[in-house]
């Protein structure tokens, strides 16, 4: 049964939510509305004239095989970033949870990378893998592997995935660590007395209890990979080689701010808006059902 609480009056509640509504209106509804409006036109860059094209921008985009390919690239990229940022985070959280001495220091150090902005993380990784002066590519070269993410699409994808996931591991680590702390010790101890070894306890007790956190992180990380990795892509590959790392958000930027094609860029924003809307609905349906408050 849901409990509901009612308050008298309407002025105070309205006043209390007014700032949030105002912020949403100014920073979300107004620009989003503008994007929807602009997506129906082909404007010139300076805003001197506009040609109404109806859904022409959408037709143009969806008939472009490179735009459709960008969906696939985005999907692949998001799945990889999510996996690469969550699995090591879970592992580190388990290890840190078992630490007795110096846990605080480890935790602090594991959280550090989260403080690095994506664009800077991109530059750091780019430096290490630079085909000419990079430390890692030099070692790889000594091992007989010719690293060249400038021409090899898979290597470029690998590099942007690792760079995007790196700082994210810290974020996921925090959540997993907190969730692990809240796993009741008595259940784990009882299982241990019954003779269950570590992995069995992990699979049958700990992991199921972590599932709300895991689902939350899954969705949050996918959204991160979709929208917040722009800086990494821009600094490392600019979407290349060929189009192997052109994700949807990067294409919005490239078409709008490099190509000055604001109509197409606006239409892409609208499509992204629909995608993120669908993701949010998915998130609420799933998490609401799974999370036990």
């Amino acid at each position: 049964m849901e409990k509901r609480v009612f308050f008298k009056g309407w002025l105070l509640p309205l006043l209390l939510i007014a700032p949030q509504i105002l912020v949403s209106a100014v920073f979300f509804f107004y620009p989003a509305g503008q994007a929807v409006w602009q997506s129906l036109f082909i404007p010139d860059p300076f805003g001197l004239s506009m040609q109404y094209v109806g859904l022409g921008n959408f037709k143009y985009l969806l008939s472009d095989p490179y735009y459709r390919a960008s969906f696939f690239t985005t999907g692949l990229f998001s799945i990889l970033v999510t996996l690469v940022s969550m699995i090591p985070a879970l592992f580190l959280a388990i290890v840190a949870d078992r630490l007795i001495k110096g846990a605080g220091t480890y935790r602090t150090m594991l959280i550090w990378p989260y403080a690095v902005a994506p664009a800077i993380a991109g530059v750091l990784w780019l430096f290490m893998f630079n085909t000419r002066v990079g430390v890692v590519s030099w070692y790889l070269g000594n091992l007989g592997y010719d690293w060249n993410h400038v021409l090899n699409g898979s290597e470029a994808m690998g590099l942007v995935v690792v760079s995007s996931a790196w700082g994210r591991i810290s974020y996921n680590f925090l959540f997993f660590f907190a969730a692990l702390q809240s796993v009741p010790k008595s259940i784990v101890d009882a299982a241990a007395i019954d003779g269950a070894r570590f992995w069995r306890r992990f699979w049958t007790i700990v992991l199921p209890l972590l599932s709300p956190t895991t689902f939350f992180l899954l969705v949050v990380n996918v959204v991160y990979a979709f929208f917040e990795t722009f800086g990494v892509i821009h600094t490392i590959t600019s979407g290349g080689p060929q189009q192997s790392t052109t994700i949807l958000v990067y294409k919005v930027f490239a078409d709008g701010f490099v190509g000055q094609d604001l109509g197409s860029s606006a239409a892409q924003s609208v499509i992204l808006l629909v995608v993120v809307g669908a993701l949010t609905v998915f998130q609420f349906k799933y998490i609401e059902r799974r999370v036990h408050y």
Binding site: P45, F46, S49, S238, Q242, Q243
Partner: protein, 437 residues
């Protein structure tokens, strides 16, 4: 005592600075230069400001070329545009189409009463920024053209004669093979692949890059980069890439680092690479004309420019336009141009500045610096070698970069890649045409 002096300072500074600012008309100038070039621009502005007391030019750096153009466009939409905006050659068609956002330079000059003779400017430079009626729409500022840079020490190390004839790609082909055989890990590297190996290649061989005179005579232009000459060249380069004779380093000028570090024997790069190479290279180098394929098209025709021009934006006071005109006139004066050309390796934009540089003996002291000037001006430009005027060109270059990468990695043949450039690029040209109808 201390308090008093600080107070006095505050009073005097508030008293003095507004007087200085209000007495002169401010002209804002947004540009894309940092580092050494940024310093040189700042010095030019400073020099102009001290040379007269009616106008103050305020220069600000707004990021790289694309970012500067974006800043200008965004500012125009917000009504905060500067009087003078630097726009790279790729953005020329965008600016030309934006009637109502820009004020043609020839009009600004006529209204300001500043000295201005369009015929004084070098044809191949001016052509890029001139309307079909022959009126100059923006002032060429920094113009360069691609040349071939040679690391003489790398040639010697590989046992190849550094004075060997490199004027044709046929000879370069043989030389690359010899360099590779001699142990060179990087016989050839390039910067700005689309600009050098397609745009300039087409002009130099007098074959079209796009229909309608490369877009000069109409917005209904279509790409023609999949011609036989271009495909033959890119096929050869793809083979060199496969054989390890041509090393691909990136879409911009990343290859410059490899060349300046002495790793590469040959480098196709802008003549404006001179300042950097001269200060960093610890090896003997020289400059040769860009190679051409013997027997293809009318090669060698002339190469075209890259770089930027200065656009005057609409929406300001008449007095400010006078100031802008004075400043542009100062920038194209012979002394300023000759110094700029000698400091940077950019081309002189007036014949007078070119002659002044020659007379000063600069070319004898800095061998090879004249190559670019000769290469551009030896022949009168044809319809194929006037330049390019294509909308959405920054984006089309992005497509070209992607397809060239497909050739270098062996994923596509040169023909497939260039056909793909045409099928992907033409819709962008159509959208630009529609946006500017």
């Amino acid at each position: 005592m201390k308090k008093i002096s600080i107070g006095a300072l505050a009073v005097s500074s508030t008293l003095l600075s507004p007087i200085a600012a209000y007495a002169e008309t401010e002209v804002h100038f947004w540009h894309a230069f940092t580092g050494r070039l940024g310093e040189l621009v700042a010095a030019q502005v400073e020099d102009f400001n001290t040379s007269q007391d009616k106008y103050t030019v305020v220069q600000s750096h707004k990021g790289n070329y694309s970012e500067t153009l974006n800043a200008g466009i965004a500012a125009f939409r917000a009504g905060e545009q500067p009087q003078i905006l630097m726009v790279f050659e790729v953005g020329t068609a965008t600016m030309m189409a934006a009637k109502g956002a820009t004020r043609p330079v020839y009009e600004v000059m006529a209204a300001s009463g500043a000295e201005f003779d369009q015929d004084a400017y070098i044809g191949a430079v001016k052509g890029y920024y001139t309307s079909t009626d022959g009126d100059m729409l923006s002032l060429p500022f920094n113009a360069s053209t691609p040349v071939l840079w040679v690391n003489r020490d790398a040639f010697k190390a590989a046992g190849v004669d550094p004075d060997t004839d490199l004027s044709t790609w046929q000879n370069v082909d043989k030389t690359l093979t010899a360099l590779k055989a001699g142990g060179s890990d990087c016989p050839l590297v390039t910067a700005w692949q689309s600009w050098i190996h397609l745009e300039n290649f087409s002009a130099y061989h007098d074959v079209p890059f796009a229909s309608k005179d490369n877009g000069f005579s109409g917005l209904d232009t279509e790409l023609q980069v999949n011609g036989d000459a271009q495909i033959a060249h890119l096929t050869a380069m793809g083979q060199w890439a496969k054989d390890g004779k041509f090393i691909y380093t990136g879409r911009r000028n990343e290859g410059g680092a490899n060349f300046r570090a002495g790793e590469c024997a040959l480098f196709t790069e802008s003549s404006a690479g001179y300042a950097g190479i001269k200060s960093e290279a610890k090896f003997a180098f020289d400059v040769r004309p860009l190679p051409y394929w013997e027997g293809v098209g009318n090669a060698p025709q002339n190469t075209i420019i890259g770089g930027a021009s200065l656009w005057v934006m609409e929406g300001h006071e008449e007095e400010e336009y006078k100031g802008a005109g004075e400043f542009l006139s100062y920038l194209s004066s012979s002394d300023v141009q000759a110094k700029w050309h000698q400091d940077t390796g950019y081309l002189p934009i007036t014949a007078e500045a070119s002659a002044a540089t020659k007379a000063s003996g600069f070319y004898e002291e800095n061998v090879g610096t004249e190559v670019a000037v000769i290469q551009m001006t030896a022949k009168a430009p044809t319809a194929n070698s006037n330049g390019l005027r294509l909308g959405s060109f920054d984006q089309i270059r992005g497509i070209i970069d992607e397809e060239l990468e497909a050739i270098w990695s062996g994923d596509k043949s040169a023909k497939d890649a260039m056909d793909s450039v045409v099928t992907r690029g033409n819709p962008l040209l159509r959208r630009f045409e529609q946006a500017n109808r």
